[in-house]
Symmetry: C2
Subunit: 263 residues, 2 copies
C-alpha cells in the first residue's frame, strides 16, 4: 500500500474505511488529535454524559453525536464513526463479545456516540519541550494503574479512576504540569505527583494495563487521568450493549492538538 | 434582621430558606461562587446537557443533579435548590407564568437541575488586579447583547449567544484575557475584543438586557459569553415547563472562586 506518512486525516480515514489500514493509529497524521469512542443506546446516554461532565479529567468529551447520528460535525466534517476507525469492540452486559472492522450492520437508530480526548495530544507537547515520554522511548504501551481515587458516580456509572504514569525528571515536573494544564480537553494536568501508594497503587512494576517502564534515579512518577477509565466504568455498569474502539485504534480528527490548547 | 455581611454561604442560604432574605445576592458571601439555576423535566435533560457540553462558554456547568434530586452535593453539602434561592421563575411553553419564593409544591420526580457558573466570580478577579468593572463602578446591571454568533444546537435547543460587555482600558485588555482565561467554569476568556458590529451588535448604547455603561476614550469593549444565553435558548425551545432563578437572585455555593481557577 501507499506510504501513509504525510497523508491527511481525511485520506487516512478513507484508507481505514476501505479496510486498507487495520493497524494502530499512533504516529499517524502527526499534529492532529485522536479520539476514543464509546457508543451506547440512548437509554444510557444521559447517565454517561453526566458521568463525563462530573469527571472531565478521565472523560474529556470532544464531541457527542445526536442520538442516531453516525456522522461527526465538529471533529471532522462528515466522518462516519461506523467505518472510519480500524477496529471496534462489541460488549454485551459488560462482556467482550466480538472485535470487528466496521459496525454498519450493527448500527441502531437509538445509538449515541461519544468521542473523548486522548493523551497522544499532550505527549506531543511534552516531547516538543524536550520532556521525555518513557513508554515512547522504550516502544511500549503506556503503563496504566487502577487507583483508589473514586470517580463521581452518575446514574448507573461509577468506579475508580484509572491513571497513566510517566516518569519525569525532577527538574521538569513543574513544566510538565504547566504544559499538560493547557490541554484540559485531553486529560489536562496530572492528578498526582510522587508516592504511588497515596493513590492506592502498590507496585509500579505491575501495571493493571499496558507495560511497566523504567524509572531513573532522579525521576518522579507523575500520574494523569486515563481514557481507559470510561471503558472500565462502562464494563462495571454492564449496559446491555456498548461499542468502543479497540485501545490504540483511534478516531483520527481534523483538529490540531494546538487547537485544543485553549482555556 | 441581622447584618448579612460576613455570614457564611450556609448561613445566608438558611436565611433565604426561611424567607428572611428576598433581595439580589450580588455582594453576599464575597469570595464564594454563585450559580445560575435551570430546572427541566427529564425528557429535555439529555438535549440540554448536550447543549451545555457543546457550548461551555455561555453554559459552564458547575453541577447537574441526578433526576429527581433537589439536594446539591458538589457545590454545597445538602443545599435544597427548591428553597435556597431567593426567587424563582416558572416558564410554561417558553412564557413566564409566575415568580415565586420557593418551589417545594411544584417539585416533580422527573426534574433535572442544572447549576451554571456566573461572571461574578471572574469580576472579583478582575477587580483584584485593578482592572475596572464599569457596571459595578456605576452601580448598574451589566449590559448584555444578543450577538450573531450561533450556539451549537443540540436536540431542541438552539439560538444565538448572548454576551456581556465590559469596557477595558487598552493597556489592560491582554491582562483581562489572561485573568478570565483562568476561570473556564465561569464563562472563561472573552469571545470577542473590539468592534461590536463584527459580532452583530449595532449599538452599544442599546443593550438587549441590562443597562448601558459609559466607555472611556482609551477603552475597548470586550465581550464575554453570558449566562443569559441558556435562558434565552430555553425560552426559544419552549419546553412544557422550565424553572429558573430570577437573574441576580443566585444560588450561593460553598466553592471559593479561587477553587474554580484551575485548568
Amino acid at each position: 500500500m501507499e506510504n501513509i506518512d504525510g497523508l491527511s486525516p481525511k485520506e487516512i480515514r478513507a484508507l481505514i474505511r476501505k479496510g486498507t489500514w487495520d493497524k494502530p493509529t499512533a504516529g499517524l497524521a502527526l499534529g492532529y488529535a485522536q479520539a476514543n469512542l464509546v457508543i451506547l443506546p440512548e437509554r444510557y446516554a444521559f447517565d454517561f454524559l453526566l458521568f463525563c461532565q462530573r469527571n472531565p479529567k478521565p472523560c474529556p468529551l470532544l464531541e457527542v453525536l445526536e442520538p442516531g447520528s453516525c456522522l461527526t460535525t465538529f471533529l471532522a466534517s462528515g466522518a462516519d464513526i461506523r467505518t472510519d476507525l480500524p477496529l471496534y469492540r462489541i460488549f454485551k452486559r459488560g462482556k467482550l463479545e466480538a472485535t470487528v472492522e466496521e459496525i454498519k450492520d450493527l448500527w441502531q437508530e437509538d445509538f449515541v456516540s461519544f468521542l473523548l480526548g486522548c493523551s497522544f495530544s499532550f505527549e506531543e507537547a511534552l516531547l516538543r519541550a524536550k520532556i521525555p515520554v518513557r513508554h515512547i522511548e522504550e516502544k511500549k504501551n503506556v503503563p496504566m494503574y487502577i487507583t483508589n481515587i473514586p470517580c463521581k458516580a452518575a446514574g448507573v456509572f461509577h468506579g475508580p479512576m484509572v491513571t497513566t504514569m510517566r516518569p519525569i525528571p525532577q527538574e521538569k515536573v513543574i513544566q510538565a504540569v504547566q504544559i499538560t494544564s493547557r490541554y484540559a480537553s485531553v486529560h489536562g494536568s496530572p492528578v498526582h505527583i510522587g508516592d504511588p501508594s497515596a493513590i492506592g497503587i502498590k507496585n509500579l512494576e505491575l501495571p493493571d494495563f499496558g507495560d511497566p517502564v523504567s524509572i531513573g534515579k532522579n525521576e518522579v512518577p507523575v500520574f494523569w487521568a486515563c481514557g481507559v477509565t470510561p471503558q472500565a466504568v462502562i464494563m462495571e455498569a454492564k449496559p446491555d450493549l456498548c461499542i468502543t474502539h479497540v485501545p490504540g485504534y483511534m478516531f483520527i480528527t481534523e483538529i490540531l492538538n494546538e487547537e485544543l490548547a485553549v482555556f
